[in-house]
Amino acid sequence: MLVLQRKTGQVIHIGDDVEVVVLSVSGDQVRLGIEAPRAVRVLRGELLGAIEEENRLAASPPSVEGVGAALGALSLRSGAEL
C-alpha cells in the first residue's frame, strides 16, 4: 500500500482525472474532497460492504411463506395507492 503524508489543503492525484484534497483534520476525523468523473464510483467503504452483504443475503432462495407474505405486503401497498 502506498502511504502518503499530507497537510491540510494538499492534494493527491490518482490517474488523470481523480483528485483528492485534504480539507481539514480534527482529532481522528479527516475531511476529504474528491473530484472524479461520474463514471468513477466513489463510496464510503462501509457502504460498499453493506451492499455486498445485502446482495449475499438476497441471493439465497426465499421460502414460500416469505415470498407469500412479501407479495401480500406489496399488493396491499399498491392497493393503497389506487
Binding site: R38, N55, R56, R77, S78
Partner: protein
C-alpha cells in the same frame, strides 16, 4: 447456496438449461441465447457472476427472478422499485438510462415479512435491447439498502 455446484450445460445456438431450486423443489429452466443478459462487472460483491436471465413467474408476480446462469444456486427476487415506492426516483447519467432500460430493485425476503426489504440504494439497470446489466449505487439519493417493503399497519388488514 449448496456445496454441490452444477455448471449449466451449454447447447450451442439454442441457449442453456439449468436446474434451480425454487421453493424447495428442483426446477429445470431453459434460457434462450438471446435472453442472456450480460453484467460485465457482475453484481457488487459477486463480480464473477456475469450472465443472468430475467424470468417471469406467476407465483411471484409482480416480482421476477434475476437468475444467475453462472451459478444456478444464485437467484434474486427483483421488482420495479415503483411497486415498493410509487415516488421512487433516482438520478441517472445521460446515456445510462435508455428507452429499453428497466430499473429493478433486489429484494431480500425473510420468513418474518416485517423484515423483508428492497435495496433501493443500489438498483439494477438492465438494457433489454442491448442485453446488458449492471448494479449502480445512488448514495446521494437518500434511499436505503434495506428499505422495508411492509408499511405500517398492513398486517391488520
Amino acid at each position: 447456496m449448496s456445496a454441490r455446484k452444477r455448471r449449466p450445460a451449454a447447447s450451442p445456438a439454442r441457449g442453456l438449461s439449468l436446474t434451480v431450486q425454487r421453493f424447495g423443489a428442483a426446477e429445470t429452466l431453459h434460457v434462450d441465447s438471446e435472453d442472456v443478459i450480460t453484467f460485465p462487472a457482475g453484481l457488487i460483491g459477486m463480480e464473477s457472476l456475469r450472465r443472468f436471465a430475467l424470468l417471469s413467474d406467476p407465483r411471484i408476480d409482480p416480482c421476477r427472478w434475476l437468475q444467475s446462469l453462472d451459478d444456478p444456486d444464485v437467484s434474486f427476487v427483483v421488482v420495479d422499485p415503483r411497486v415498493i415506492d410509487p415516488s421512487y426516483s433516482v438520478d441517472f447519467d445521460q446515456g445510462e438510462l435508455v428507452d429499453s432500460s428497466e430499473v429493478l430493485a433486489i429484494m431480500t425476503i425473510h420468513v418474518d415479512p416485517k423484515r423483508s426489504t428492497a435495496n433501493l440504494l443500489a438498483p439494477v439497470l438492465v438494457d433489454l435491447a442491448a442485453r446488458t446489466g449492471r448494479q449502480v449505487v445512488r448514495h446521494e439519493s437518500g434511499y436505503d439498502v434495506r428499505h422495508p417493503i411492509a408499511h405500517e399497519g398492513w398486517e391488520k388488514r
